[in-house]
């Protein structure tokens, strides 16, 4: 039905390929065709803006230039790190003719920054609640989910005005429409440690522990995320967190596309849920 540009980013084609599978399957079920950006390159993630500011504009700019060349007006980047880097660069380009000139030279393609970059929540917002509701096959009953936005999905708020950056509700709105129960909790926008997993694991384990504890304390039986790094830290690292803090969390971590996919009647294999680390077979938070 709709054609939309797709920038998977490194994570989704690497260790978070379960996320990519989930995104693709769910969007396909909703008749959204993803046109993968041909020959995309890494957005630079946090390393680029840490080490070389110019590079942190140039790498996303190359991808935006490709998007313009390949004629996509909208570009889905399911990883919030990628979407933020792309949006930041796009805004800087759109604002400065000098930068457009400079970057066009560096990335060897003309670039204007006019591409509209969307994160995963925004694509579902664009599809709209009526369409989502109409496609539901199995309402998400029994799910008591803590919606976790993490740090980058809604920030910086000046650039990402799709939801309130302090009290976001967009995932809650979607999931309650699909029959899930969402919990009110306090760590919706606290950082999990993001890409520091490898460089500074201790930080990640501490921050993520707080998030898991708070979600459970407010009655969540699972957490939903829309970010590959959040998933790594809360899912893959959950065992290490439990070991370090001597507690048992046992919380399933779903991608937003997982829960929507389940509601649309897709199965766990198709969505890649079976490849998560914490899988509560038998008594899963989500009975579907």
């Amino acid at each position: 039905m709709t054609d939309i540009g797709y920038y998977p980013g490194c994570a989704l084609q690497g260790s978070s390929n379960d996320y990519e599978r989930s995104v693709r399957a769910t969007l396909q079920a909703l008749q959204v065709q993803l046109q993968e950006l041909d020959d995309w390159i890494c957005c630079g993630a946090s390393a680029a803006h840490t080490i070389n500011h110019k590079l942190s504009v140039a790498l996303p700019a190359r991808n935006l230039a490709l998007a313009e060349q390949q004629g996509c007006a909208q570009l889905l980047a399911p990883c919030p790190m990628c979407s933020m880097e792309l949006i930041k660069a796009g805004k800087a380009l759109a604002d400065s003719p000098a930068l457009r000139q400079e970057m066009s030279d560096i990335v060897e393609l003309p670039v204007t920054g006019r591409t509209q970059v969307l994160n995963l929540i925004q694509i579902f917002q664009q599809i709209g609640l009526p369409a989502l509701k109409a496609a539901v096959k199995q309402p998400l009953e029994g799910v008591s989910v803590a919606c976790y936005y993490g740090c980058l999905l809604t920030r910086p708020s000046a650039l990402l005005a799709f939801d309130d950056c302090e009290q976001p509700v967009s995932m809650e709105t979607i999931l309650t429409a699909l029959g899930a129960k969402t919990v009110a909790w306090n760590f919706k926008t606290e950082c999990c440690g993001a890409g520091m997993t490898m460089a500074n694991e201790e930080t990640v384990l501490n921050l993520s522990h707080k998030i898991l504890s708070n979600a459970a304390a407010h009655g969540a039986n699972c957490i939903v995320v829309a970010c590959p790094m959040c998933h790594v830290n809360l899912d893959m690292k959950q065992a290490a967190i439990e070991q370090r803090h001597g507690v048992r969390h046992d919380l399933e971590i779903f991608y937003l596309s997982d829960l929507i996919g389940l509601a649309l009647g897709l199965d766990r294999q198709t969505l890649g849920i079976d490849r998560h680390f914490v899988v509560k077979n038998g008594n899963s938070a989500c009975r579907l």
Partner: protein, 666 residues
Amino acid sequence: MSRIGVFVCWCGENIARTVDVVQVAEASLQFPGVKHAAHYKYMCSEPGQSLIRDKILADRLDGIVVASCSPHMHLKTFRGAAQAAGLNPYLVEIANIREHCSWVHQDKAKATAKAIDLVRMAVAKVRRNNALQAIKVPVTKRALIIGAGVAGIQAALDIADAGYEVVLVEREPSVGGKMAGLSETFPTMDCSQCILTPRMVDVGQHPRIKLYTCAEVESVDGYVGNFKATIRQKARFVDIKKCTGCGECWNACPQKKIASEFDYGMGNRRAIYIPFPQAVPARPAIDKQACLKLKKGVCGICAKKCAAGAINYADQDQLLEEPIGAIIVATGYQLYQISAQQPTAELSGYGEYGYGQYKDVIDALQFERLVSASGPTGGVIQRPSDGKEPKHVVFISCVGSRDNAKGISYCSKICCMYTAKHTMLYKHKVHDGQAHVFYMDIRSGGKNYDEFVRRAIEQDHARYYRGRVSKITEENGKLIVRGADTLAGTPVTIEADLVVLASAMRPATGSDDLARKLRIGYDQNGFLSESHPKLRPVETNSAGILICGACHAPKDIPESVAQASAAAGKVLVMFSHKEMQRDPEIAKINESTCSACFACVRTCPYQAAEKADVRDRAGNLVKRTARINQGLCMGCGTCVAVCPSKSADLEGFSDQQIYAMVESLL
């Protein structure tokens, strides 16, 4: 005019250092019409002025130019000198050779050449000046005061006590404003109600104060000394002349759970209610949004209970006219709304503080009601969520204030003080409790103010942390407050039972609309503008309209009251004259050439250009014309610029004068 005197001032060294004053004086003698030229060390000094006076008399000068400092500095001085020598004061012009010349240029030759040009322009102008007479207008000796908070009350009593009539308009059902709801007040800690209530009663009973409550000013026409105010008396559904205030009605009203505005939602009232027991007038009003009879046509209990027959469900708004001579605006303030939803796009809320989401996060006025003996808890400190006594209370300063990102850059000036007060009131009631304050700076300038804040810290052991709070969350009935102690360089987390936000003071809703109706200015934050911050602090730029209290800027009670008395004083000065004098540098219309297109009528910002008929002796209409209302015209000259037939002109800045100035530069 051909006997012009030019007086060049040295201003000590200030002018003479860069401008060759002797050369300027000599050159001026060459200008057409100049009869005499002199220079002197200090023209504004007594010998300088007498030099001018003597020359006017000796040479029968019919115009003078003083080449000196800015006209904003000494035009009045030299007009006075001229008048003392019998010369019409409007035949004086200034050539500004100090601020606009000697102080901004280094090169003496260029500066002198420029000074000569400036004198040439002034001479060209003064030759075309007209002798003008100050305009006299009669004065209606009645004052309108809008807003009956402590400021409006003070001004009303001052004027009424001096023997003049006052019309006091308050939009709430009672007078008193914010102060009526405060607990004890800094810096003396006297009970707010104890000091205010007697004055409220005085207002209610004063023979010369005509009080309108539940009323607003609909429009104001006319001009200083001669305003006509139209007042909208909103339907109250209770005839306060018949009502005895017995209370039978509100005690019987079944609508019990209406959030009380006076308690800022911390308590409830009925649909028929008096806002608080000491209200003036002590007469109820019916809230038409809440009353079952008015909404659905059922109930009617209050009317049945009322022996006096005062209830009238068919009551309608009424428009009433009042003749007025002067107006004082005292509409006060409101607190910035902290919740994420904001009334205007420029403002944004504090999602991170969870106001509106966590019951135990309240604002400062709500806290006032919580500690007030007349408040919903009778002065017992109980937190809203579960009624428990809070053992740790966090007070956060500068919420909204000094926060560019949220749209308010100014300091609210009084919150440092009331926050210190709050910690003391709290400690005096909860002896084993701990108050914590997050602040950025402590601003406590004022008599005994800093001592007051130190007392909160030293005697009542309030713990002050210098840093803002980033986020508040709720955990097991505790509010987790994450702030910083920038002096120690660490983050600080406090588990609080109650959080009080010292939110910014903003102008009362609708004060910008009111300002537009009154044609007075307001600043980018919506506070009303004074004419000059130092020299005319309670006047506005519209003659006869004054401001006082927190409608002008964040203010505490002492300041509001001082300003109110100042505004009253200004009104009394006006009322002490039979007639008023106004600067005559205003527009005039040549009615014989006016083509009655009324472009001036449409553009005049003061509605001073009016349509009029020209009639012959027999009263027959000769023609239509525009005419200037001398009381209203402020002399902006817009009408002159828009008049297609060149019939409008401005005294003091007439076309002839301005063109002559420019032409002198040829």
